[in-house]
Amino acid sequence: MPPFKDEHVLLIAPGSQMTLAQLGLPETFTPARFRFPTRMFPAEKKGEYEPYRVREKRREVKVSNGTEAPKPDVEMKDAEPAAVEGAPAAEGPVKPEDGTQENGNEETTKTIEEVYYEEDPASDEGAIYPIENGRIVDWPCFFALLTHIHNTLSPPFHTPIMIIAEPVWSARDREAITQFVFEKFKAPAFSLMDSALAACYGYGTATATVVDVGKGKVDVTAVTDFTVNEHGRGVALEGCGGDAMTDRLVELLGSKGFTREMCEQLKRSNIAEILSAGTPLPGSSATARQGANPAAAASTGGADANESAPRGPGDGTQTGTEGANGEEDEGVLDVAAIVSGNTTEYLANIEKEKTTTKKGAADPKGTRLPNSKKEKASFQFEEYVQMDGDKTEAQGSPQYIRQSREIEVSVERFLLTSPSTNVGNRLTGGILEDIATQIHHTILAVPDATKRSELWDSLIIVGCGSKVKGFTQALLSVITQKFILSPSGTIFMSEIPSNFTTPVPTGTNTPAPMGQPGQMYHPAAQGVNPLLVAATHNNPGMPGGMPGTPSMDPNMALHYRSTGHSQTPISVKTLKPPNQGNSNAPGASSSSAAGNPGASGAAQGGHGMEEAIFLGAQMAAKVFFVLDQGLSKGYMSRVEYNESGPSAIHEYVL
């Protein structure tokens, strides 16, 4: 077979919400060129689908003697109310050709009804989402989506296709997709690549633990030597994705009049942040320096800006409930957070503050505090408002304008991952804890025990759900708290090893190991302001090794670890994204901000390494289709398909 060309390769990565696609491999790997919402709309004919919402509209066309064309009736606006007969025919001024009127000035006019269709790209009413939690729930619709993407990109015949497979797809699902691609698209070569493996290609590593935080689910996969470990894999762990965080916000803020859409945008805004476990919430901080109490926050710029814009629902209710709660709060108790948040941690912090802090004066530097220190912050809420809502409903396409306004929120914006108060089906300690437990389970299930330590040290966190500021840090800190083994007891019996800093007066009583970026704090460091720790622990000349590596500590040599293997994890780290020399700034998945969660956030809203899966797919496609021409059995060719059928796709180990 002649070699494939870069510009012919078609990549499709379906997701529950967005499907990424690209035709041709660019010189440097870039985010996907096309992003299709993963939804289709039922067409008029059963079993067919349209990419956009199609409205059936009826309009009455005036047929007058002589002239067929409907007349623009802009000048007759005043007469509109009279024109409503049967079907409401009135139309806003933006649709001039639609309105019909009979003012009696043209007796010969009769109206006939004419049906026409109009695409409405903004609406998602009646949409069918073929993928739910990674699972393909509506096959015809999914295939229609693939066809739509294929048609939109219209590749030439000699186009190899690579589809990124969700881990949850069963063997039969993969066969069905294979069959569809070969028979509908007549592809000369097809590759179905596991998303976790693609992420590894994106990071250029053979062994990693891939955590893919999606919309409604999380996948946790241990990849060793480019092989996906199916056993113990966390497949489509439900209730842990981005939606779960939005749900939590709705739960916290719903009583204050926040809609789901508001919460969704709040989650995406750069003021929403997940604080590492043990970080005190602002406004209740035990470290007195930040005296950001409500009084101070009220005078900050964010609040001032609010005066001019329509007020968000956050504030009014807050003052309303204050009295009802009947608590003497001395201005430090954030009632709103208690009413809705109700976490014991929060209350404990308040309690602590009452005893330890004096009411600080308003901090004049309040505006320059990092987000994590501000008690309140506001974000820009954008919404599409339908113009002249009622009138246009039945006829004519609705017109939208974009409105934006500032909404102020309190500390709820830090509580995205706190456990839901409504127990429901699961006794969860929050989604981060669920994910951490799944990672632990997945890594323990890897049969090659010698790889486990490496897996802990190479976490890859991808997926748009992980875009929320501080997500990675918070996840690492949960893992550290729950699972990291203490450096074996003997260390503390002897002198402190050189790579452990000596205890400092930050409230820690045990040394906190400082490693390179990505190294999380030791559990002992919890409950301490990470900024403070970072400032006092600043010793840049430290060797980059792991704490407790046997070679560094003579006492460890006494431990007989040569037979079998030892327990994991000793440490946990995220992998550094590769430097590709392009615009993909390492975003939330870079862990340089271990100590100061407020500093990162450059990649907010951008497509950083959250989409490492797609980048990896480009790299893999380049390797499989262009460079090694199928030598590594990276794809299935049409000839092989004709011989062995769709089930042969399983032999192409991706």
Binding site: G47, P140, F143, A144, P156, F157, H158, T159, W169, S170, A171, R172, A176, Q179, F180, F182, K184, K186, P188, E230, G232, R233, G234, L237, A277, V423, G424, N425, R426, L427, T428, D434, T437, Q438, H441, L444, F483, L485, S486, P487, S488, G489, F492, T510, H522, P523, A524, Q526, H559, Y560, T563, G564, S566, Q567, Y641, N642, S644, G645, S647, H650
Partner: protein, 469 residues
Amino acid sequence: MNPSNPPQAAEYGGDEVSAIVLDPGYSTTRAGFAGEDAPKSLIPTYYGKYNADGQEKLVYGDNIFVSPRPGLSIHNPIGRDGIVEDWDMAEKVWEHSFVSRLTGTKAGNPFQNGLNDVDELPVEMDVESEEKPLSDSPLLMSEPGWNPARAREKTIEIAMEKWDTPAFYLARTGVLSAFASGKPSALVIDIGASNISITPVHDGMILKRGVQHSPLGGDYISSQINALLKANNPQPITITPHYLISSKSAVEAGQPPQANYKTFPPDKAPDASYRALLEERTLTEFKECVVQVWPGPTRLSAPGPTGVSNEDMARNTPGRPFEFPDGYNQVFGVERFRVVESLFDAKAAIPDPDSPFPAPTPAQTIPELVKASLAGVDVDIRPALLANVVVTGGSSLLYNFTERLNQELMQIFPGPRVRVTAAGNTYERRFGAWIGGSILASLGTFHQMWISKKEYEEHGPNIVEKRCK
């Protein structure tokens, strides 16, 4: 090829379907396609049950380890002796094992699944509306060597009637393990979770009179570890699973743990059986990291060759540290050899009155089982069996297990050549029976062995006794 030329019209028209191999065990259930080298789907046989919104809900798969649920209790459809007790649930668990990762839910009506052009819809055909999960895959299942006839008939009944498989076969795990190591004749020693079993296999046929089994499997070793932890010095150790701990702090070895525990309201707290399941996870880790089999040649309690007793020798090997989920950590010395010693020496069992396992009798130990097994087979084939001892099963992965087994067998049978084979690869050891099934079902010559649906309909479930010997 010119990219603007349309491709040839030749299309795949074959109907190659690979069989599904299902190897249900007490602790895990393995399922995958025949011809592959590892089962694609591995789920715990345990399932969870809880009430939510007034309904009883069931949880299958790995998820039971990850998310605790209110009032969750854990059950196992298979009894301790390896025979199914709860058929309804066994069917559901097994079905989950292949539906979740292999067959998936059906793509639906072929006329509407997008794969076919729907220009002309045929007249409404009388299609069975109820989809059954296996209607287009043959199924090979495994069973323990002592499976009673009633259970075998029930199994084929489920496969044929509930799952609608077109062809079925039931094979003994021992035979399959022998196939996996490429031996038609072998003495298969399978160390599972609930049982250890000895199966003599000759020319691919099981020698029924020689089949021996005893309950000293992985779960028994766990109970021994529990007994050890209970009697631990300076203080007894209790295992608190991860789900009950919100954070822990580092403590020195042997010091009491410092952890923040989670509390659940009593009406929401998971059942004790859930806690037991998760404690078992920690014990598994303990077995992997700490437990060692005394390599022999003599027993741990015996005096060593140099006059120093074996116990003292073991004591001199460096200990191995282990940290429990609540942060408690300790170095384990000679104790780590003791917990498995009773597999070979019944007297060495650590006594524990609360254990669900009664103290082992000498007849239950591996050397005695092998003796009993060989006594049940023809004298002529004994040397052939001893020269082909196959060790399989997850618990046989204990460090130094095969060395010790080899020593024990050489002592009992000094005459004939004893050769112990054990796969070095963890997968091959744990999934020996499955892999054998995968090989068997993909053989061309195996096709005549299948019991077809038609035969089943003609002869009834009893056919399994005649065909699957």
